[in-house]
Symmetry: C2
Subunit: 397 residues, 2 copies
């Protein structure tokens, strides 16, 4: 029998990912037929803000330096000056004393998540994901030879502590959370963060340490809030993974990091493992040039008001048209319930009106859909009649 | 029983890597005691050439562009202009028509190797490595849930075709080669390349396709040769993995790529798998900024004459002192036999004379040692009496 050109698992993953590709292809065909102005693409999660001026200034300054030695390998965790700048920023942002040697620069938060799960998971371990979840978490978990265990959040997309407690088994090695959340836009509230920390503290034992991995790249993209709650202060065995992809609108630069809070048990062992894995997994280190840039603008932030305006415009209209929606308090996505239970069917109907969206099914939460509002303001404005028509169509049946 | 803070395999890997860290620490102590000028560090593989002027010019030009949209995500395989520039360069360098869509930009060759092995290996597959080999290949192979099978090269570090044929089993999925070679500096000669291609052609069957993965980052760092032979032309199921780390002396920028030759069977399936894995493994894409830089200097090359001068100075002296050495025809390393069979013991003696080197044991070839000559010329000059003294010491016993 002929053997596939690629691994069986990879072939299966490619097949399951093919519907996104089909949607992408459909979008391309639609744009060719209708013209770009009549296709409203809410399917992508590519932050479209403008990087802040500090970023461009830092890029120019580093480019002007002409330092032949600073494009070479550095220690795998990164340049000292970059780690120090990030640590200083994080200490303020999280209100925790995070030191430079507890920061590992990574290829975005995606690279950081992969290194963390690889570092802590033995084959067969379980990683709890809270649905709706970022679909890539499944890959990250499986690539670490661990098994994803999905627990639904409640109707407000807040952690369901009882359901999480019920899902913990002797093989549970980590709980991976993401707040502000992709795709729901939910910000886990302070009570939920404390409750989660208390729950895990009851289960964390010397013979079964359970890590809380906080994937926090949207932490500063928040609306109507001054501070994003976090369980990190309340649970010592927490690991922060994040990036500058959203803060600076530079997702393509792969500027991320892992930070270990001061109270993490066996911090040096974990740090050693992460540093080694950053190398052996093939990342080796975050781009030297971008590290030098980040060292100069580690506090900078894109214009969050731009996203807030998009959120307000889209969400107000959706609510007015009758969509059921928890207004997002963070991140770049609205996650309304689809007016009919079959989200894939409704996505199809939206497409007939020129709107591209992603079904909740792909995030482990069918019956919903993700709308990225990191798009041009004009796209939202022009799309509104189509959103109204689509819900009208199913309501009038 | 208390469970380790990290995965068992990771803890074991950290332990086995600890002797390199100990050597590094020893070097630091030595420098503190003797002063920097009296410690000769030949242990690192960090290309220390100066990036060519085209690279710096490209960095300045891209920095001056101020294109907010070009720091965002792009297709995971990379910007079209970057892939096209690399494809055009490769078509000339390999004398093969490689098109832009057959190139995937990666986080260095390390990121490329990980993606390739992940793409093709099912759990339990075997990957043949030719010793002496780059030690990270073991990690890359094991992370793809495959098993490294080590085959020794001959005394001239050329592939031993009979030994490779004997090592092929029904589970063999790939042969991973590296010419010019780290650590031996050997360039596989044309006959060996053709022989390897013929051997694999006999074994490659529909029910057992065998990939030849060519990790070629030193391809243009050659001495006394105009062209580095390659089996790629003679074996269709070849995959090229490489980087600009050595060509431009920018190893810290993680500028690498995978290129699929035109004759590769099921090329689109392999390309789809590599593109997906580039994303799911957490690389996502090569740094956007550096892609735009590479697009402008994909042909540039550092000053190879600088390395040739280092090679000549070091190798001439070693031969004169009585070291047994195949003079390297490529890469940045000399790999002499240690004058006593116990390479770790001899490395220890060298250290007493202020010289840091890596035992052949770490590369799967005990009885040898790796000396990186990507160091300052002065380091080589000042180290020579120490090399002479060390061999004299063991000869006079």
């Amino acid at each position: 029998m002929a053997r596939s050109a690629v691994a069986a698992k990879v072939a299966a993953d490619m097949k399951s990912a093919s519907f996104i590709r089909e949607m992408f292809e459909r979008g391309r065909r639609m744009k060719a037929q209708r013209g770009d102005d009549h296709v409203f693409d809410f399917s992508l999660g590519n932050p479209n803000g403008v990087p802040p001026e500090q970023f461009f200034a830092a890029v120019r300054a580093v480019a002007a330096e002409r330092q032949p030695g600073l494009h070479r390998y550095m220690p795998n965790a990164g340049f000292d000056e970059c780690r120090a700048a990030v640590a200083s920023f994080l200490s303020r942002e999280y209100r925790l004393p995070i030191d430079a040697k507890s920061v590992v620069m990574t290829s975005g938060a995606a690279g950081g998540c992969n290194a963390v799960l690889r570092a802590v998971c033995d084959p067969g371990d379980e990683v709890i994901l809270l649905a709706p979840y970022f679909p890539e978490y499944r890959f990250y978990t499986e690539q670490a030879n661990a098994r994803p265990v999905v627990v639904q959040t409640n109707d407000a997309f807040q952690p369901d502590l009882e359901a999480i407690a019920a899902a913990i088994t002797p093989r549970t090695r980590a709980v991976l959370i993401n707040t502000p959340n992709n795709p729901s836009g939910a910000v886990f509230d302070a009570a939920a963060c404390r409750g989660l920390a208390e729950l895990l503290s009851r289960h964390d034992r010397p013979d079964q340490p359970v890590y809380l991995v906080c994937d926090d790249p949207y932490r500063r993209i928040i609306y109507d809030l001054d501070w994003c709650p976090t369980p990190v202060h309340h649970y010592p065995r927490s690991i922060i993974v994040s990036s500058y992809s959203k803060d600076l609108s530079i997702a393509g630069e792969r500027a991320g990091y892992i930070a270990l809070p001061p109270a993490l048990p066996e911090r040096d062992v974990v740090l050693g493992a992460l540093t080694m894995l950053n190398r052996t997994l093939g990342f080796v280190n975050m781009s030297a040039f971008m590290q030098r840039v980040i060292a100069r603008c580690a506090d900078a932030l894109c214009d969050v008001e731009f996203y807030r305006g998009n959120r307000d415009l889209l969400c107000k209209a959706l609510l007015e048209y009758g969509y059921e929606l928890i207004v997002p308090r963070g991140a770049l996505y609205a996650f309304p319930r689809t007016p009919i239970p079959d989200d894939v069917d409704f996505i199809d109907r939206l497409a007939n009106h020129g709107i591209l969206a992603v079904p909740g099914l792909g995030f482990g939460r069918p019956g919903y859909m993700r709308l990225s509002f990191c798009v041009d303001r004009g796209t939202i404005e022009r799309s509104l009649p189509a959103f109204r028509a689509a819900i009208g169509e199913v309501r009038s049946r």
